[in-house]
């Protein structure tokens, strides 16, 4: 432990970022596993342990990251205070993604199985899009400087949220039986929250704090 002082490895905010990216990877894993139980015919029992263990790890990582952020400010001073505040927010959002994955699994536990429905392919495609977005959010966390990538991500997240909101409204007004539309409405709702949290992660990472600048400086 003491020898870690002499080792060459990531330190400072890079280490915190790497730890956060690993937390997001856990959240993605939980999401993928819970989706498997709902959409690919896997039983609740076969994935439950994995999802719950991963969620415990996510919660533990959240606590570790909070401590690391306090240590960072104590050691490095207030140089990174904007990023520290942003990370305090975004790790909470990642933790919520873990919780929402658990909620998805609870749907499967209630007997919901959307693995052989007429819209299964559509749902699987949506799930894949969200899962890929988690990977993209991790990439942006690691390198938040590519403004085009960030803007495209935010646009994609807004569009997806709007689409999911539309799906929820359609379910609300659907004349199909409740046993068919309610699970979908709940699932869309969870996914919408997950996408909102992912967008929040990216926004927090790339806009830790608004810096006021004099209009004269913009002319330069």
């Amino acid at each position: 432990m003491v020898m870690s002082f002499f080792r060459r490895s990531e330190g400072g905010f890079e280490a915190i970022t790497a730890h956060t990216v690993s937390m997001l990877a856990d959240a993605r894993h939980s999401f993928d596993m819970a989706s498997t139980a709902l959409l690919s015919g896997a039983t609740h029992a076969s994935v439950a342990e994995d999802v719950y263990t991963t969620d415990d790890r996510i919660n533990q990582t959240e606590q570790e990251l909070r401590r690391e952020l306090v240590v960072h400010v104590s050691v490095q001073g207030t140089d990174d205070i904007g990023a520290v505040l942003a990370y305090t927010l975004l790790i909470k959002k990642i933790e919520r993604i873990g919780d929402q994955a658990k909620n998805m699994l609870d749907l499967a536990d209630e007997g919901v199985d959307l693995g052989s429905e007429s819209d299964t392919d559509e749902l699987i495609a949506l799930r894949r899009t969200i899962s890929v977005m988690m990977g993209e959010a991790a990439d942006i966390l690691s390198d938040p400087t590519n403004e085009d990538e960030v803007a495209a991500y935010r646009q994609k997240a807004d569009a997806l949220r709007f689409s999911l909101e539309t799906q929820i409204r359609e379910c609300m007004h659907s004349e199909k039986p409740g046993s068919e539309v309610v699970p979908r409405a709940i699932l869309y709702r969870y996914w919408k929250r997950i996408v909102a949290n992912l967008a929040g992660v990216v926004i927090s990472a790339t806009e830790p704090i608004h810096r006021e600048i004099d209009p004269d400086d913009l002319d330069d």
Binding site: M1, V2, F5, G11, A15, V71, V75, T206, R211, P215
Partner: protein
């Protein structure tokens, strides 16, 4: 007014450049110690004797050590100056030992002051104040035991002298330090400049001592600042590793390594205060870190001794190390004894949190009024 999301890029000095700068600053620090020594030597014998007459009483010496360290907020600086003075022969080892012990107490003022910053939040303040004062209590208890033992038996100075004899030669002899040869030239240049403007004897000595003090303080300040920049990521990484799963000896070693790296126990102990306030580290886990810092900070006086021309300077530097190691051996291994400073700090924090003015009174009394009164009475 427009807003933007861009953050200003940090301008950081390349590590290699900063490392070279630190080496230059260490050289400057050694030149400062040597200037101090040369300045005292230039003064007449009578002046030298009258300068240090007041600290011949060990209790007065102890309080001078506390006051001097509180004044410069750095035991590294005060002990280096003491070592430099011993190097001149004007200050004896016997008189320097209580001053070194005083420096150990005085250095705890910094983290206690840092803890006062949490005053607005009761619970945070209680944890922060206890974390700061556990260092005070440990050092006061160690001095209360080891100063009388030293005065009666001379054990600490004898042990340090024995090691010093082995390393650089017997007391009273002239030690041909290689470092001394490296710093001789710039000291000569400074002396020549002052002589050219007509200064001599006491005036020349005084201005050289003042220059030496300024150089030592500035060099140490910038060494600490730059070393902190160089090792901050490592400090952060190892703190996370140790706080996550370590304690006791591991934490003590970490305190030692961080302090040796940044050349300042105040930095190490002050880093721990916000962590204590936030509840990230418990008082019992902070305690060994501060003890490691106590030992780590002795490296600066040992470094200063390398620029001195008498073996006694190294003896005093070693006294500082042996004193702190002995303090740990006496007060840390046995749980019931180890708990004494912890309980005292917790008790004081309980009182301080209900009557916050008392916390301020404590700092002013322990670090200013008592030492000032002590010097006035015992000199």
């Amino acid at each position: 007014m427009t807003t933007t999301t861009e953050s200003p890029e940090k301008r950081t000095m390349p590590t290699a450049v900063r490392s070279v700068l630190v080496f230059l600053l260490i050289y400057g620090f050694l030149v400062g110690v040597s200037l101090l020594e040369s300045g005292i030597k230039v003064m007449g014998q009578d002046t030298q004797e009258s300068l240090f007459q007041g600290v011949s009483n060990p209790i007065a010496g102890l309080f001078v050590g506390i006051l001097g360290t509180v004044l410069v907020q750095s035991s590294s600086a005060s002990t280096s100056v003491i070592v430099g003075l011993v190097g001149t022969g004007a200050l004896g080892v016997d008189a320097a030992v209580p001053m070194i012990m005083g420096a150990n107490i005085g250095t705890t003022v910094t983290n206690t002051l840092v803890s006062l910053g949490s005053m607005r939040q009761s619970e945070e303040f209680k944890r922060a104040f206890a974390a700061a004062t556990v260092h005070d209590f440990f050092n006061v208890i160690a001095v209360s035991i080891l100063l009388p033992v030293e005065l009666i038996t001379g054990w600490l100075s004898s042990a340090a002298e024995a090691i010093s004899d082995e390393l650089v030669g017997t007391a009273g002899s002239e030690w041909k330090s290689p470092i001394k040869r490296w710093v001789k030239e710039p000291v000569g240049w400074v002396q020549d400049i002052y002589e050219d403007i007509g200064l001599e004897m006491n005036a020349l000595g005084t201005i050289m001592v003042i220059t030496g003090l300024v150089v030592v303080l500035l060099a140490l300040t910038f060494i600490t600042k730059n070393m902190k920049q160089l090792v901050a990521d490592r400090v952060e990484r190892s703190l996370n590793a140790v706080l996550g799963s370590g304690g006791g000896t591991v934490a003590m070693l970490l305190g030692l390594i961080i302090t040796v790296s940044v050349q300042s126990s105040s930095i190490t102990t002050s880093i721990m205060i916000p962590l204590a306030a936030a509840g990230v580290v418990s008082l019992r886990n902070i305690y060994p870190v501060t003890l490691g810092a106590n030992v780590g900070t002795t490296i600066t006086a040992l470094l200063a001794a390398l620029a001195a021309s008498k073996p006694e300077a190294l003896t005093v530097g070693l006294v500082h190390t042996i004193f702190n190691v002995t303090g740990i051996l006496l007060l840390y291994p046995i749980t019931r004894i180890r708990e004494i400073p912890v309980r005292l700090a917790q008790g004081l924090a309980e009182i301080a949190v209900t009557r916050q003015a008392l916390a301020v009174t404590y700092v002013v009394t322990v670090f200013l009024i008592v030492p000032l009164a002590g010097v006035a009475i015992f000199r």
